[in-house]
Assembly symmetry: D2
Homo-oligomer: 239 residues x 4
């Protein structure tokens, strides 16, 4: 399986907290996790100048994409967003992490503002599983704890998820639909809220297992279609 | 209730069939229907040069929009599409008719290609109600017949509707999810497949009642919000 | 609109806390609330001997039923449960409150165990609205606070709600899908978790408004059908 | 994987048409199909005297159950229905075929009457796939043809399916949600409408592939839980 990890680099990652959480870099952390499970991973950098090196060739071979972005959503080229959305519609899986709720491809695919409430004090989040038979939650028990996380709160302006897998509880008083699957065209989307760049969330065992299971779950069931479009029938299909 | 009807004018409407179906014009037919039920209606023309006269002032006072377009989707200005989508997200209702499945605002709000199969031989469609308790279907019985209609067939590349109200049967062998409600943000969207410009579909009694009930159903429940966006909480909401 | 309120009487209601919360009785509290909005209300008592006086005549005239039960679910007659379920399937609305999650009619209509986690220490619940355009939530803002409530926690063994309106946050660390709509047949069901008999939850203004809006929302759109059943067609409906 | 096939024997199967369609017996046909793919299959007979030999031991080892019944739904013991439903709620998969729409376990799990319209003239059904990325539809193309089938038509009184995979078109003018997935508790249910006992539907290649893929899809993701029930928490889970 070919996986492309698009991960923004921002100054917050170069802070002491950022470097402590991910000395190797957040993007490298995710890429290494996937590589260790025999995924063929390409790591792509995004920054204030946009996404670097995500060529058509790479995109058209990608089975599953991971997307982490925060400060520089606006720098992502609209034509690239169109291409990514179209590949999802044709079957590619995609996992949006944390602040990617506000990324262009996520909003393009969902059609809503994806706005939310937020607070950054490093509080505790407990993610309760509300769909215990879901493949993404397999073996992870009733909940997942994240000791320090940025709060994301409802109302989260998304369409009703096709599969609501996790709801997060935050110490400060909020709830959040933090683990959601959406189907768009032939592709599957998974959104997962934990993962602020200054907390080592992606080092937590259960979160790592979840990300791997999400990768497998959103992978194309029947490949990625070459194209989608209207089809003209001249005559009755059945007399 | 303020309703804005955006209706394309194309050469097919000037054909003999088009003029026989709607001597007054398809847009006028819809506008008159709504006016007769005390809606405050503004009729807006679209053509190969785009949408004419849909000012910010009109848009910002619209409770429900109707959209019929076919040949000139590409001429609709992207900035206008953004504004319409944002008003739906804030609470405006919108009804997309027939070939508007391929319009920019519909695709922007749903995030899929909205592609389908089609055949234009004027065959019979019977729309079966699969949600008999739905307000849009009130009093309309088990099905609605349209003697001559353009066939639209599955797979219809839309997200799973939040409410699937009607499924169409076509004589030539196809089925179609032809009456669907989607919620996007605080707004409701209704898509209804019948209504090719050369058949007098919008003269059928049951279809007329359905369009009026759809207008009322998608109207804002709690007004249209001034803006939507992320909200920052500095401290715990609950100690 | 004819509303039938079925409310259990149990010894906990006769405790000091129970009498302080509802000196008039919890069932009377709900009945009076509805009466004040011009509902034609019949209050029915349930206890360890079952449901008293819910005759076929009363049932067959009921548009909306409210159900509150806790200790004596097992005493409810199975034949009565069948009748209630069948009337919901034909169009009657029903609101299940608090511990009615474990009542026979609720489980009969949903097909799951409806089990959950619980803790009774009178902690704070905040119910966040995740569907701001829903008629049940109209005018109630982003959340509803209940200062002292029994905790109900996930996993809540229910089918995915057709409309998830509220998610509760509990001080002790849990979340709960506490405001849910289900469609079954032509009828609508609303479940709402707050309302333990020793806390004056149904005296809270927002909760009262919500209950009234729920009553209107689940009321039959097109009346209650006389019967539902398979229908035999001898010949083709369309040649 | 342990699969239990419960199949009714009725007089219609002993008719010339029945014997021509399935000389080996309809139940044997399904059992052999599954055995050939390395399922460990137990075939159980049902008839006017009920279900024969479905012991607790067999049930408690079953991963996936298939259920075909028609004339003798009423003979199935209610206590057995309870046990089957409880095992589905705990994780067992179940596939209901054709006239099993009216079986007790199906109605118990869905909570509706599951009534429909029907006509038995052996007309053509074409099942259109409306969820092309679904594992049950993998490799089966846009539609499945069944040359001769009993018509089942809408309105089909079921809750909105969690996953609507196929919609059937019937030559005589009806449509039907004929391939539906429901989640109940930790278990998955698949309903598939084709399969009247006098037509050799289960000999069609695509139908056979679909049944095998359905079996795999509804199989438990995380095993079958020993029991489900409410859980009492004495103290705050999080301080």
């Amino acid at each position: 399986m070919k996986v492309t990890v698009v991960c923004e680099h921002n100054a917050s990652m170069d802070s002491e907290e950022g470097k402590t959480a991910y000395p190797e870099g957040l993007g490298v952390c995710i890429a290494e996790l996937l590589k260790a499970k025999d995924k063929n991973v390409t790591l792509i950098r995004a920054d204030e100048q946009g996404v670097h090196g995500l060529t058509d060739e790479i995109l058209e071979k990608t089975d599953v994409m991971f997307w982490w972005g925060h400060w520089y959503h606006g720098a992502v080229d609209d034509a690239l967003v169109d291409k990514i959305a179209y590949r999802v519609q044709r079957g590619m899986g995609i996992v949006f992490l944390h602040s990617a709720h506000d990324s262009k491809p996520f909003k393009r695919l969902l059609g809503t503002t994806c706005s939310l409430a937020w607070r950054e004090v490093g509080e505790k989040e407990r993610l309760w599983c509300v769909m215990p038979d879901h493949p993404i939650a397999r073996g992870l028990g009733e909940y997942i704890d994240v000791e320090h996380e940025e709060m994301y709160g409802e109302p989260f302006d998304i369409p009703t998820p096709d599969e609501l897998v996790y709801i997060g509880w935050f110490r400060g008083g909020e709830v959040f639909r933090g683990g959601c699957v959406f189907h768009r065209g032939r592709g599957k989307i998974f959104y997962f809220n934990p993962g602020h760049e200054t907390y080592p969330t992606y080092k937590i065992d259960k979160v790592r297992t979840l990300l791997l299971q999400a990768c497998d779950y959103v992978a194309p069931v029947s490949g990625v279609a070459e194209k989608l479009g209207c089809r003209h029938f001249e005559e009755f299909s059945i007399k």
